[in-house]
């Protein structure tokens, strides 16, 4: 329970929250309401006039096979990114947790990727897997596999998943490590005395005890994959080939700014907004309550 603080004057508390409110209004409430309004309009091809059409944009969206396909693709993409980055981060954290010498250096190195901007991370992977000059393409070629994500949709998807997951590993690692280190040492020792080997201790003690963190990261990673991977996709595939890597956020951009269907694009962003809101609700509802110790 938070302590209540009483202010003497009546304007001070308002003044203190004003900057936050202002930022929220300017950067969230206003654009969001614009998007909401826009989603109910249809513009003509030249952007000279618009017509109020109620929910026609939404009705059209849900009848659109491409849109539903993008939805499925996004879900596949998000869960792959979340799973891959979390599994990798968990492995690294489990190992880092046991390191004693040079632990800080080791940890610092593992945190670096988080400081890399999504676009830059995308650019890195583009270079490594470039069909003509990428080092990995070359290596795969030597092993007898011809890599070309510019033609092969599956490979393109794989590449954006790996690039996005790589970026997220550092973040997940930090949280997993913090969670593992908050488990009292004596619990692990008690399990060791009880006869559990390292693997058994990990699966029967550590994993259940960090489950609140796992759930939290699950939500955060899905949100990341849903919304913040735009930069990576834009740098790596531009949603191609043949829309094979076009996820929801990328479609909003593509339809709105390339295809100039502002109303339809706004409607898509409203749907995305609803998804974020529900994920946040899940986050607050369950994660904050389900802490074991």
């Amino acid at each position: 329970m938070l302590k209540r603080v009483h202010f003497g004057s009546s304007w001070l508390p308002f003044a203190l929250v004003a900057p936050q409110i202002l930022i929220t209004v300017v950067f969230f409430i206003w654009p969001a309401s614009q998007a909401l309004y826009q989603s109910l309009l249809v513009e003509d091809a030249f952007g000279l006039s618009s017509e109020f059409v109620w929910f026609d944009n939404f009705i059209e969206l849900f009848g659109d096979e491409h849109y539903l396909g993008t939805f499925q693709r996004t879900i596949f993409f998000s869960f792959s990114v979340a799973f891959l980055s979390m599994a990798f981060a968990l492995t690294l954290a489990a190992m880092a947790d046991r390191v004693i010498k040079g632990a800080t250096t080791y940890r610092t190195f593992l945190i670096w990727p988080y400081a890399v901007a999504p676009v830059v991370s995308g650019a890195l992977w583009v270079f490594m897997f470039d069909p003509t000059l990428g080092i990995f393409t070359y290596t795969l070629g030597a092993l007898g596999y011809e890599w070309n994500h510019k033609l092969n949709g599956g490979e393109a998807m794989f590449l954006v998943i790996v690039a996005s997951a790589w970026k997220q590993v550092a973040y997940n690692f930090l949280f997993f490590l913090a969670a593992m280190q908050s488990i009292p040492k004596s619990l692990i020792e008690a399990a060791a005395i009880d006869g559990a080997g390292p693997t058994r201790r990990f699966t029967s003690i550590i994993l259940p005890l960090i489950s609140p963190t796992t759930f939290f990261l699950m939500v955060i990673n899905v949100v990341f994959a849903f919304f913040e991977t735009f930069g990576i996709i834009h740098a790596v595939t531009q949603g191609g080939p043949a829309k094979a890597t076009e996820i929801l956020v990328y479609k909003v951009f593509n339809d709105g700014f390339i295809g100039l269907d502002l109303g339809g694009s706004a409607a898509q962003s409203v749907i995305l907004m609803l998804i974020v809101i529900s994920l946040t609700v899940i986050q607050f509802r369950y994660v904050e309550k389900k802490v074991e110790y």
């Binding site: 004596s186 008690a190 399990a191 060791a192 005395i193 009880d194 029967s204 074991e292 110790y293």
Partner: protein
């Protein structure tokens, strides 16, 4: 069932030596207590026996096996931790069954043993609860249960009572003692509390700064402390140490504040030197007709009911500080001058510099 044998055991972290030259043979079924102030290395020693800390010097054997290179799981021990270390995501039942499951014991056998242990510890009603739903004392019992159910050959206790309130601590102390008597399993108990040490242990090891100050039964430690440290550590309130000068023939000690006391007969030969005279508060008696008397000036009186603690100075106001424990309720006023007597055999003499005992 096993004896534990420590041979020249030591521990160092790089250059820093935290334990050195510990030699001790703990008999089968014995209950021993390692006691000392915080930072003396007592927990480290216990953890070395458990296998949670590596042994950098010497050798530890449990039963007839040298365990230096064995994993904790292979040492056939069970440990009760200070914070209980119960698995928070498991029910009480699963907490107790965990070690048995790992050992691949059949389900019905596990159930029988857990139920039986729970009955001994009177936690049968809580088996389905999670540890966080239990009180401190109940958690303590579960932690004990988890150790007992495995039927190990050695029990290790790492300050198991220090998180409990005073009343519960006394109760659990008694239960641990009864339990150990009943099960007869070799036990090593670490504590900083001298009352726990005295009441629980068949034998004690007093550790200070990484080395053994004294080994012995509680009574030996109380009656014949070999160092000033042990003398001050065992007993409550702790022993009075008064600086004094011995007479030339070694028969008397002269104190600042004007008092002189007769010393134990066998102390001649140490004449004309400074000594630290140790007298337990309970050995100073209010007896004007006693043979070996001295005066004390009263400053503060504390009434505890069963006894009365008198804080004051030995002799006049310039004398050294002194605590006297008198039986029952005594009406004593501030600044009153008391006549105290002490049996010379209850006087301990220590070298003021080395802290070693002088009277053998």
């Amino acid at each position: 069932m096993a004896e534990i044998h420590l041979r020249q055991v030591g521990k160092s972290y790089g250059e820093v030596e935290v334990l050195q030259g510990i030699d001790w043979k703990i008999g089968d079924g014995e209950f021993v207590v390692i006691v000392g102030p915080s930072g003396c290395g007592k927990s480290t020693l216990l953890r070395m026996i458990a296998g949670l800390e590596s042994i950098t010097q010497g050798e530890i054997s449990i039963g007839d096996r040298v365990v230096n290179d064995l994993e904790p799981a292979e040492r056939d021990i069970a440990m009760v931790f200070q914070n209980y270390a119960l698995y928070p995501h498991m029910s009480v039942y699963n907490n107790m069954a965990y070690g048995l499951k790992i050992r691949g014991i059949p389900k019905d056998e596990i159930e029988r043993r857990v139920k039986q242990t729970a009955e001994i510890l009177e936690i049968g009603d809580y088996l389905t609860r999670a540890p966080r739903q239990l009180s401190g004392g109940q958690r303590q019992r579960v932690a004990m249960g988890r150790a007992i159910v495995r039927e190990p050959s050695v029990f290790l206790f790492d300050e198991p009572l220090s998180n409990l309130d005073a009343k519960l601590r006394v109760q659990m102390r008694l239960e641990i003692k009864k339990l150990q008597q009943r099960l007869g399993i070799t036990s090593v108990y670490v504590t900083h509390d001298q009352v726990e040490a005295m009441t629980l242990g068949h034998r004690l090891m007093v550790l200070n700064g990484g080395h053994v100050e004294q080994l012995g039964t509680p009574i030996e430690l109380y009656e014949r402390p070999l160092t000033k440290f042990v003398a001050g550590f065992i007993g409550s309130p702790s022993m009075n140490f008064l600086e004094a000068k011995m007479s030339e023939d070694g028969s008397k000690a002269h104190f600042t504040g004007g008092n002189s006391l007769e010393l134990p007969a066998h102390l001649s030969g140490h004449g004309d030197r400074r000594v630290s005279v140790g007298m337990r508060p309970e050995h100073l008696l209010l007896d004007e007709n006693g043979s070996n008397t001295a005066s004390a000036t009263v400053h503060v009186v504390e009434h505890l009911g069963a006894d009365t603690l008198v804080h004051g100075t030995f002799g006049n106001d310039d004398g050294p500080e002194l605590v006297v424990r008198l039986d029952g309720i005594k009406t004593i006023g501030q600044d009153e001058v008391l006549t105290l007597s002490i049996d010379p055999n209850n006087i301990h003499l220590f070298d003021p510099d080395s802290g070693k005992r002088l009277n053998t």
